[in-house]
């Protein structure tokens, strides 16, 4: 018996088993959708011929997805974007969300309603006490063709509020960093923060916000320079993400930026992990007692995260062990049967709230870290 099996309480193990059953069932349904001539996308129907197996008959469980080659995000570069639209959704309004694109052709993902659904599920995890329904929101993150920007706006609307946004072009930020124009970078950051401060102090009764870690830090600093704080301007709840998130940064935030732990009246903050391909993974509640450890859990069965061996991307590591993060997206809009994320971390055990695998200590994959520009906004 492995250490992992002994460490999971019986009731959680039972829930995990049921969740796995649901995942297997969901996998079959999604695979059939994407590989049936009537409903599948041109991309996957064309890809089917190269696979050497028939997904409609050979995929019987989630584990069978390992028969697919790893999803390559390079496939997302260039058009036509319509090749990704499942025939079953023909005629519906389609969004396109992009990543990269500082130079060259960005990677594009089509979306119909996935971003709404993901954030509605996420909304269920937000405590009303700190994200009061009906509150207005500030979206302090990238603008432009970004999933995050529209998703946060939808989250606000879903919770009965209105979302205020800023203009922030992350591609220009990356260019400034690459050019070494640090003064311009600083000025651009100020420009973004000035927009946020203006909105927050203009009487819009904003109580909730999204911010990337760096922008949250800068906003707190800017408000302090003006003799006020996130608490004083009325912020009660923040969800943060978009760039690397460390326990130490979280501790700094709680202790020095948000007015102390939430139990002592500080602003509530929850980290998230995600990307345009997968959507949004929530964090297990963080606390000082747990060393501000951040563990993410994907919105299974719509998305799954695994932590896999550096040597064999089909081999999940043991609980607590380190590996590379592998993502799966299993919705009727988009199918990703295993994508190797540019991150690594430790595999986390299921628990009552999320009875499936999680990942903690997420950081840039060590073999790619030096070539990656992280935390650009």
């Amino acid at each position: 018996m492995s250490a992992a099996q002994t460490s999971i309480p019986e009731d959680v193990a039972k829930s995990a088993s049921e969740a796995r059953d649901r995942l297997n069932e969901h996998t079959l349904k999604i695979v059939h959708w994407h590989f049936s001539e009537e409903t599948g996308s041109p991309f996957w129907l064309e890809k089917k011929a190269e696979l050497g197996f028939d997904p409609l008959t050979d995929i019987k469980s989630f584990d069978d997805l390992k028969k697919f080659p790893n999803f390559e995000d390079e496939w997302l570069r260039g058009g036509p974007i319509q090749r990704w639209v499942p025939k079953g959704h023909a005629g519906k309004p389609v969004y396109v969300f992009e990543t990269g694109g500082t130079t060259g052709v960005p990677k594009s993902r089509m979306v119909i309603e996935d971003h709404w659904k993901d954030y509605e599920l996420f909304s269920d995890t937000l405590p009303d006490e700190h994200f009061p329904p009906g509150s207005n929101w500030l979206m302090l993150g990238p603008s432009g063709p970004r999933r995050l920007r529209l998703a946060v706006e939808h989250l606000a609307q879903h919770r009965g509020g209105i979302c205020f946004c800023i203009d922030l072009d992350p591609r220009w930020v990356v260019k400034l960093i690459k050019k070494g124009w640090m003064e311009h970078l600083e000025e651009y950051k100020k420009h973004c923060i000035d927009q946020a401060v203006t909105v927050l102090t203009a009487g819009h009764d904003i109580k909730c916000m999204f911010a990337t870690p760096k922008l949250l830090e800068s906003l707190g600093e800017a408000l302090e320079d003006r003799g006020t704080s996130l608490q004083e301007v009325g912020i009660k709840g923040i969800f943060s993400g978009g760039t690397e998130f460390t326990p130490q940064w979280t501790r700094f935030c709680v202790e020095e930026l948000l007015g102390g732990p939430v139990e002592e009246g500080g602003v509530y903050m929850t980290p998230t992990y995600g990307n345009t391909l997968m959507g949004l993974a929530c964090s297990k509640p963080i606390s000082a007692a747990d060393g501000y450890k951040i563990s993410y859990y994907a919105p299974q069965p719509r998305a799954v995260t695994e932590v896999v061996s550096f040597d064999d991307y089909n081999q999940v590591v043991g609980f607590g062990e380190t590996g590379r993060v592998k993502l799966y997206t299993l919705t009727d809009e988009f199918f990703v049967p295993g994508f190797m994320e540019r991150d690594e971390g430790e595999r986390e055990a299921p628990f009552d709230m999320y009875p499936w695998d999680g990942v903690s200590g997420v950081r840039p994959f060590h073999e790619l870290a030096s070539a990656t520009t992280v935390g650009v906004y």
């Binding site: 600093e221 460390t246 326990p247 130490q248 940064w249 700094f252 020095e256």
Partner: protein, 479 residues
């Protein structure tokens, strides 16, 4: 194992991000090193004025006395460093283990830093041209000519992004403390030892702990220091220097391209200067910006290169504890292989000759580190690319160049030792703006007179001379 944690205005901060510092040769962890992010640094910089306020409670004379005591403690005492007590021997061993420098070179750098601090009164007297330091403290004063002079501090603290593995540069920030300017330092990832030990020595000598911030971390910690302190210094590559060129808030230190120029009037006697040339190239394993990377003369250049090669070509790798060791390890082996590849490109150019080719392999690769053994190359013209190169190991190009073209062709030169009695060359070299520190006569480029400014006068960097006029207020009429 010793653990070094960040220091936030004198208060240790228990970082959750701890990295191992490993021995360059064995890969064994030798210390743990906590770090902080830019947010913490930025937050602390808002309190920077308190660092200066704490120092202003002490007179400059008191702070000079404390600095001299700190020099003594730094060089000889067992001091609290991180969570441990650190002896001098432990310091030397730890520094050698993480930087790859032989231990005797670590001791030399220790003594150099201590020497500068123990003579800080003379150094400040020279850098201020005899100014009463109370004038810097008060911001204005009477210097004896019946006119008020004013020097306004431009910053409450001096920020410094210290190099990863060069223990020789710390002399540059030491004068800040007796000038009542606090310090916000980002120690190098492999050389945290000197800043930590020096700060401990200052505190033990009575300097207020709240004057010191030590912020180990990544680029964002360094970036925060530079954007949030009105005056900072950074050590880096030529690109780093170019990036900050013209920015009055930043003093950037990079490659030195230090040189020895031999005039036509003495070049036939070049053998008299061989010791000067060898020391200039080989000292401190050729790792400093003040090491000589180019020797320029109009004739005898092949003979000069051959003679230097005979002296330094045989130098081989020795254990870091060996007092005869003259080579430092590249603790990141890829730096050595990358450097060697660049040298190979230099050598491929026509007119460039490796004069050390007969002295065996140059690139010595070990399991966890690598070495580059000394190289002397001859360039038959300043047009050769190698004439403008500087590398982090004992490497020199001996360049054949007519004297009349020399000063026009040398390019940026941190230390220029000019060997000549020709008054015209002396005058021209003295006026040549490419040369920062100029030596006339047989002075090795690595021997600095600390009573003179280095890459800009730190007084001018930290203080601004300005007008300060005073008139009595008229007495108001009483009701």
């Amino acid at each position: 194992m010793i653990t070094l944690q960040p220091l936030r205005w004198g208060k240790p901060y228990e970082s959750m991000e701890i990295k191992d510092v490993v021995h360059f040769d064995t890969g064994e962890p030798i210390a743990k090193f906590g770090s902080v992010g830019g947010g913490i640094v930025a937050r602390d910089m808002k309190q920077a004025h308190k660092a200066r306020a704490a120092l202003l409670k002490h007179s400059t004379a008191d702070l000079i006395a404390m600095s001299k005591k700190a020099a003594e403690l730094f060089e000889h005492a067992e001091l609290p460093v991180g969570d441990s007590m650190q002896s001098v021997d432990q310091f030397v061993h730890q520094q050698s283990a993480s930087t790859g420098l032989p231990e005797h070179m670590c001791r030399s750098n220790l003594k150099k830093n201590s020497f500068v601090l123990s003579h800080i009164d003379e150094i400040l007297d020279c850098l201020t041209r005899g100014l009463d330091l109370d004038i810097l403290s008060r911001g204005y004063g009477e210097e004896g000519r019946g006119v008020i002079v004013s020097y306004q501090a431009q910053t409450p603290v001096l920020g410094a992004i210290l190099p990863n593995n060069s223990p020789g540069v710390h002399t540059l920030w030491l004068p800040a403390i007796p000038l009542q300017i606090g310090l916000a330092l980002k120690p190098g990832s492999q050389e945290p030892w000197t800043p930590y030990r020096m700060v401990s020595a200052f505190i033990q000598a009575g300097v207020p702990a709240e004057a010191f911030g030590l912020y180990p971390g990544g680029h964002d910690a360094g970036g925060a220091i530079m954007t949030k302190t009105p005056r900072s210094m950074i050590f880096g590559s030529a690109e780093t220097v170019a990036q900050h060129a013209g920015n009055p808030r930043v003093q950037a230190h990079g490659p030195g391209w230090s040189k020895i120029l031999i005039g036509d009037d003495v070049v036939d006697d070049w053998e008299l200067y061989l010791d000067v040339m060898v020391e200039s190239v080989l000292s401190n394993s050729g790792r400093s910006c003040i090491n000589c990377s180019g020797i320029w003369a109009s004739r005898h250049t092949r003979e000069i290169a051959q003679a230097i090669a005979e002296r330094i070509g045989p130098v081989d790798v020795l254990p870091p504890t060996d007092d005869q060791a003259q080579l430092a390890a590249f603790t990141v082996p890829a730096m050595a292989t990358g450097t060697y590849a660049m040298v190979q490109q230099d050598l491929a150019e026509s007119g460039v000759t490796d004069m050390t080719a007969d002295y065996g392999d140059k690139l010595i690769e070990r399991e966890h580190c690598a070495y580059l053994r000394p190289m002397v190359v001859h360039a038959d013209s300043p047009d050769r690319g190698v004439a403008m190169k500087e590398y982090m190991f004992p490497f020199v190009s001996v360049v054949e160049c007519p004297q009349a073209e020399m000063l026009r062709r040398i390019g940026p030169t941190l230390v220029g030792t000019v060997l000549t009695r020709d008054p015209e060359l002396v005058a021209a070299a003295g006026a040549c703006v490419e040369i920062d520190r100029v030596n006339f006569g047989p002075i090795p480029t690595n021997r600095l007179n600390w009573l003179q400014p280095h890459e800009g006068n730190i007084i001018d960097f930290l203080f601004r001379s300005r007008a300060y006029q005073v008139a009595d207020l008229p007495v108001a009429a009483t009701a």
